[in-house]
């Protein structure tokens, strides 16, 4: 459902049941020859991936007039990036900064909470037999198959009755569910936590909660980082549900705020600010990309440990 994932297209890693895990395959001394041809061919995909981002980066360096008069993939005479960034943060009494903080709040509470729920749930699915276990994931996948746009209004009516609309909770609560995260943690926990270890903890008299926090959670760390990253992206890019739930621009996330700036150019008397929309877009994706780069060691190990050969 689009409402929680933002991007409608989660994909999951796979099946599991590997004998050993977290033992990435060792490169044998006779490593394969590097191939220029293969590098160039793969480079095509790389250029394809980067081209729009390069356009965005270049566009963010242009003034409003510069945008109108210059070629899209090259710089205009003036370099206005810093000026644009300053203006983006100053426009409408600095509301962009507020949106950034809102988004951070939604990510910390929403994506953090979603990760926590997914870890708990995945652990339960992997390590416990309980009544209704088989039904849980089937119901989750079944519900995800129903298009989210049609559920938005019923969700709004419910939240409105509960007095949650126009509050941060209206964005945070739906963000707490990550079906893909649950799936990933299920697979990961199955592999990462040796059942004997849990048994040993229980024999030592540890409670279930204690076993989870002291034995299971540390072992689940790489998978947790991975899920956290995916839920962060989903929350960061969340657009449709906030659009329905929020009226007060003071609670907008970045996506909604940028959208309102973009639409401003389409009404009578509205000020067209394409340069700020573009600079704002760039500022919106930079933190995510930075997070990807900084955390890549963790989440990639999480992914590979979660996806093990058949």
């Amino acid at each position: 459902m689009t409402t929680t994932t933002g991007s409608v297209r989660p994909t999951a890693p796979l099946k599991s049941a590997a004998p050993r895990l977290r033992s990435p395959r060792r490169r044998i001394p006779g490593r394969p020859r590097r191939s220029i041809l293969l590098t160039v061919l793969t480079g095509v995909v790389l250029v394809y991936s980067l081209l729009p981002l390069v356009w965005l980066l270049i566009s963010a360096t242009k003034s409003q007039q510069g945008l109108a008069r210059s070629f899209g993939l090259w710089f205009d005479g003036n370099f206005d990036l810093w000026h644009n960034i300053g203006e983006t943060f100053a426009y409408q009494d600095g509301v962009f900064g507020r949106w950034l903080l809102n988004t951070l709040l939604y990510v910390v509470v929403g994506a953090g909470g979603a990760t926590f729920l997914a870890v708990l749930g995945g652990y339960a699915l992997a390590k416990f037999a309980f009544p209704g276990k088989r039904a849980v994931f089937a119901v989750v996948i079944g519900a995800v198959a129903v298009p989210g746009t049609a559920l938005a209004v019923p969700t709004f009516l419910m939240f409105s009755k509960m007095g949650l609309t126009d509050t941060p909770w209206a964005v945070i609560i739906p963000s707490l569910i990550s079906p893909f995260g649950l799936y990933l943690m299920w697979v990961f926990a199955t592999e990462a936590i040796p059942t004997e270890l849990m048994e040993a903890a229980r024999i030592d008299g540890a409670s279930e909660l204690r076993t989870f926090f002291q034995v299971a959670l540390p072992l689940l760390a790489p998978g947790t980082v991975t899920v956290l990253l995916f839920t962060t992206v989903a929350t960061w890019n969340n657009y449709f549900l906030p659009l329905i739930m929020l009226k007060d621009p003071d609670w907008y996330p970045l996506t909604l705020g940028l959208d309102s700036w973009n639409k401003q150019a389409q009404t009578a008397g509205g000020e067209a600010i394409p340069h700020l929309v573009l600079t704002g877009s760039l500022l919106t994706i930079v933190p995510l990309i930075a997070a990807f780069l900084l955390l890549q060691k963790y989440w990639q190990s999480g992914l590979s440990a979660g996806s093990v050969k058949e």
Partner: protein, 446 residues
């Protein structure tokens, strides 16, 4: 399915039932508080007492008006919220009304969308507040637009009497005269495109607002509305004038296939490849902010006429402020609406670039003599004010025009991108609108 999971499903079902109980009560009970008359003394008393008024509007000039109003009536707090632009806001409003919670006290509603809320009594008839007395102070087009049956469902905030914006630099360069009729307009289009194959007389990729405004100007009456009885017909003489002329422009590829309000469109207005723009009088502010580079190039002329020597215009866009029935503090809300749309707020808004709907302001010499640096010092308001006087007052929108306009490009749009004729496109639009009206319980007469 194993027994246990069935038990689980039952549990979930129970949970849903609880949630449902909380939500499935969306019926409407009519407590008509609007019948009682509200005197100006009542309103004054309410202003003294004070309170909060929540206003949903995307109109930028209201910000200053709200501040001024609060200054004048210190006990009143105006909460101005931009709840989205047009359709986004209407959906938010409908959602809030359905939930019976969080409904604003004042909402900006465009003229073409007002009918639906008026018909379903979701907004308040302002006659009880003495709104009818203001009839003569508004120009005919907007005033007619806020009336539905015998009721008055909003006060006009701004208006969009149409004019022809044209790029004088381009016209001078190719020695083209400013067209005064639509036939001349087609001629000018041919001449321009021949002189510069990259230049077009205008851009149009199918825009319901433009088409209905042109039909309006051509004296067509496609929509007949009498309560819940509706008629739709795009084949009268006025409609034929429009479709014949516009078909020529499309067939000869004389209009740029650029969608309005996109980056391409703004660029086209700036670089001379889109040479004219027939639109509402609210456009100058958008020119000044969106097409900065072409300052001084553009001028304003009266609309080309469908018949030589005629003097007909129409309205394009414009919106009103209305009071949702479920809103609170009605007296205060009305006081604010009157202040913004009829009182001192009008001048404030004009100063910030809005185009008024009040005749007094339209006719004032300071307004008419305002020189627009963007238009090379032209006193453009004279053209607009003249246009406002020439708007036929017998135009009606459908009570579900919001939906109808949303499917314009599904139907009439085909005429812009395929061999479908405009008349066939209009027929398809008519059929789809008839179908929807019938489904919604209207008696539709084709």
């Amino acid at each position: 399915m194993p027994k246990n999971s069935r038990r689980l499903l039952r549990g979930i079902g129970l949970l849903c039932a609880v949630a449902l109980g909380a939500t499935a009560c969306g019926g409407s009970d009519n407590d008509s508080s609007s019948d009682k008359q509200v005197s100006s003394a009542d309103i004054q008393a309410a202003l003294k007492k004070g309170g909060t008024v929540t206003v949903w509007a995307w109109e930028p000039t209201l910000k200053q008006v709200a501040a001024d109003f609060e200054k004048k009536y210190p006990k009143v707090d105006i909460k101005l919220v931009n709840a989205g632009t047009n359709n986004d806001q209407y959906k938010a409003l409908s959602n809030a009304i359905a939930a019976k919670k969080g409904v604003p006290d004042v909402a900006q509603i465009e003229y073409y969308a007002l009918g639906q809320y008026a018909l379903t009594k979701q907004i308040t008839d302002l006659k009880a507040y003495g709104a009818e007395k203001l009839a003569d102070s508004y120009s005919p087009g907007p005033w007619n637009s806020v009336k539905s049956g015998s009721g008055v469902y909003g006060l006009p905030m701004d208006s969009g009497p149409m004019a022809l914006f044209y790029n004088k630099k381009v016209f001078d360069k190719y020695k083209i005269a400013v067209p005064t009729t639509w036939d001349e307009y087609v001629e000018a289009a041919r001449k321009l495109h021949k002189a510069d194959p990259k230049a077009y007389i205008t851009s149009d990729a199918g825009d319901a607002g433009l088409t209905t405004s042109l039909l309006w100007q051509a004296g067509s009456h496609p929509y007949k509305v009498d309560g819940t009885k509706v008629g739709i017909d795009f084949t009268d003489a006025g409609a034929k004038k429009y479709s014949d002329t516009w078909q020529k422009l499309i067939d000869e590829k004389l209009v740029a296939p650029v969608t309005g309000w996109t980056d391409d469109w703004y660029k086209g207005l700036g670089d001379g490849t889109i040479a004219t723009l027939p639109t509402g009088a609210w456009m100058p502010a958008n020119f000044a902010s969106g097409v900065k580079g072409a300052s001084g190039d553009w001028r304003v002329a009266p609309m080309p006429q469908w018949e030589k020597g005629a003097n007909a215009s129409s309205e394009n866009g414009g919106s009103s402020l209305a009071l949702p029935e479920l809103g609170k503090n009605k007296e205060l809300a009305y006081a604010f609406v009157e202040y913004a749309n009829s009182g001192a707020g009008v001048q404030t808004r004009i100063k910030n670039g809005a185009f008024p709907a009040t005749t007094k302001d339209l006719n004032s010499s300071s307004f008419q003599n305002t020189e627009f640096p963007y238009f090379g010092g032209q006193k453009a308001n004279k053209v607009f004010a003249e246009s406002a006087k020439s708007v036929p007052t017998d135009w009606k929108y459908l009570p579900y025009q919001v939906y109808s306009n949303s499917i314009f490009n599904d139907t009439v749009g085909k005429a812009y991108v395929s061999s479908t004729k405009l008349t066939a496109g209009l027929k398809a639009w008519q059929d789809a609108s008839v179908k929807y009206g019938t489904e919604q319980g209207f008696t539709v007469d084709k």
